[in-house]
Amino acid sequence: MTLGRAAYILMLLSPGIGLIVVFIGAVVYIAVAQSFGYYNLIGESGFSWSFWIEGIDRKSYLRAVRYSLYVGLTSAFLSVALAYPLALWLRKPFPGSMTISAILKAPLLVHGIVAAFLFLNVISYHGILNQMMVWLGIFDEPRRLQNDEHAIGLIFLQVWKNMPFALLLLTGAVQAISDDVLNAAQDLGAGAWQRFLTVIAPLTVSAMQASLIIIFIGALADFTFQTTIGPTNERSLAQYMTFMKDRGRWNDAAVVGVTLMALSLAGSVLLAVVSRLAFRGRRK
């Protein structure tokens, strides 16, 4: 690569990547520094491992890590698994496909907090779901469905909100696959599942990675859904960090914050590598 070309690439990267590096670099630096005892708002500052040692030793910390990973991974896989068949179905326009696509993508337009509020209304003690279950004879009397301990409601809402996002990315990617390729695979006797594994998935792996990663990170670091409809016996990492910060324990909050960042990064790399490896061998 010549010097001129390198300078050209750097110039292209600077407004996007350059800005990200400066901005996020400053934020991450202060968060990491605080987790080691620097930049204290009150009292003296100085290097210390104690916030990390005490932090990761707490049961509540490990529990929050496990719970957030469960929510993040489940939401990402379910959203992408649901979006693929829909994206393939909508690949070619047919009568009514625009309406169907609009209905499926509608959750993108519904605010997260609004979605949580609507969901609460539906599943509340005297809500329509309970009324219907009693009317159908499935429930003898209304049940408490809010803030269920297995976070089923929360994951339902995560998938409802995020699946359209995966659909948006995957629709573009599957539409870019030419008919010739799919017809050739079909003529060679490949079934639907085989066509997906050998042709569609390898050709759309970029969009698949983007969907998985973005949904995973969003759900992992969720605060709003967790504080409104999530289980009351669990705390997400973002909630745990805010809990610490609200009590003025900035260094402890920084430990949780750095953990959350590390898990997001590690999870994203893992998802990207696994999806790439799973389909690279089939590419040829």
Binding site: M1, R5, M11, L12, L13, S14, P15, G16, I17, L19, I20, V21, F23, I24, A26, V27, V28, I30, A31, L86, I100, I103, A106, L108, L109, V110, H111, G112, I113, V114, F117, L118, N121, V122, H126, Q131, F165, L168, L169, G172, A173, A176, S206, A210, I213, I214, I217, G218, A221, F223, T224, T228, M241, T242, K245, G257, L260, M261, S264, S268
Partner: protein, 276 residues
């Protein structure tokens, strides 16, 4: 064949029905809750509220921070969408069209704003603003933070778009003597258009929805619709007031998106024929 198609489509049709019901029923309930007049309590044994009025709407319009919040949110979001798109384009072009050492690292760096939880970003960004004495420029501070936060979405989506530009189309256009502008129009634009649309759409929605930055950096005098709704869902939870705010947040969002989509669609023929 017909039987197979029906079996194939049955789960999808059921899913569509559920999606439609899950949109219609909760929104209908929200509308009804927003119309409950304080003089009559709506109990579960009645299908509709006993007394209906626009009292809640008038109350919220006149007695909450709804008006400034709407102005703030709907100035911030489109500005953030355009700014983010402009910032992301050169980077996405480099990532989508050029091979260079460290490209995969650059792609990972582009994801950094997503790795940092928004509450961490919000708190430490506001701390930086205070130290620099810039805390009073709340609009521009939030705009900058939104642009950075949503750059990963824009870069990823636009990179995929740039990757999908077919080199044979670019070469064919060049061989036929097309100018750089014409090459962009015939070879790049058709592949980029859905990505640009998706970027504007997603950044707009993300900016409208964003809570942490707007709340931490905006407090006390810069209210957006989500921070207002969130505060209403807190201590003084009132289902009817929250329903009004939820509808105010959700409905214009849907309408604006439809207008944007229509605008982009109608812009397309003029651009693709070169007569715009």
């Amino acid at each position: 064949m017909i039987a197979r198609l029906r079996i194939d489509q049955a789960p999808i049709l059921v899913l569509l029905l559920i999606c439609t019901l899950w949109l219609l029923i909760p929104f209908t309930m929200a509308v009804l809750w927003s119309l409950v007049d304080p003089s009559g309590t709506w109990t579960p044994d009645t299908l509709l509220p006993p007394v209906i009025s626009l009292y809640r709407w008038e109350f919220m319009w006149n007695n909450s921070l709804l008006q400034p919040a709407l102005l703030n949110s709907y100035t911030l979001a489109p500005t953030a969408a355009v700014v983010t798109l402009l910032l992301a384009m050169p980077t996405a072009y480099a990532l989508g069209r050029y091979d260079f050492p460290g490209k995969e690292t650059v792609k990972l760096i582009a994801l950094l704003p997503l790795v940092v939880p928004t509450f961490v970003t919000a708190i430490f960004f506001s701390s930086i603003l205070f130290q620099m004495g810039l805390a009073q420029y709340r609009f521009f501070a939030i705009l900058l933070a939104h642009a950075v936060l949503f750059l990963p979405f824009a870069i990823r989506i636009l990179t995929v778009s740039f990757e999908q530009v077919r080199q044979d189309h670019v070469d064919a256009a060049r061989d036929l003597g097309a100018s750089p502008l014409e090459r962009f129009r015939v070879a790049y634009w058709p592949a980029l258009k859905p990505g640009i649309m998706a970027t504007l759409l997603i950044v707009f929605i993300q900016s409208i929805e964003e809570f942490a930055i707007a709340y931490i950096v905006g407090t006390p005098d810069f209210t957006t619709v989500p921070t207002l709704l969130y505060s209403q869902l807190g201590q003084d939870f009132n289902r009817s007031n929250a329903a009004v705010l939820a509808l105010i947040l959700a409905v214009p969002n849907v309408i604006l998106m439809l207008i944007l989509e229509r605008f982009l669609k109608s812009a397309n023929p003029a651009l693709s024929s070169g007569k715009g």
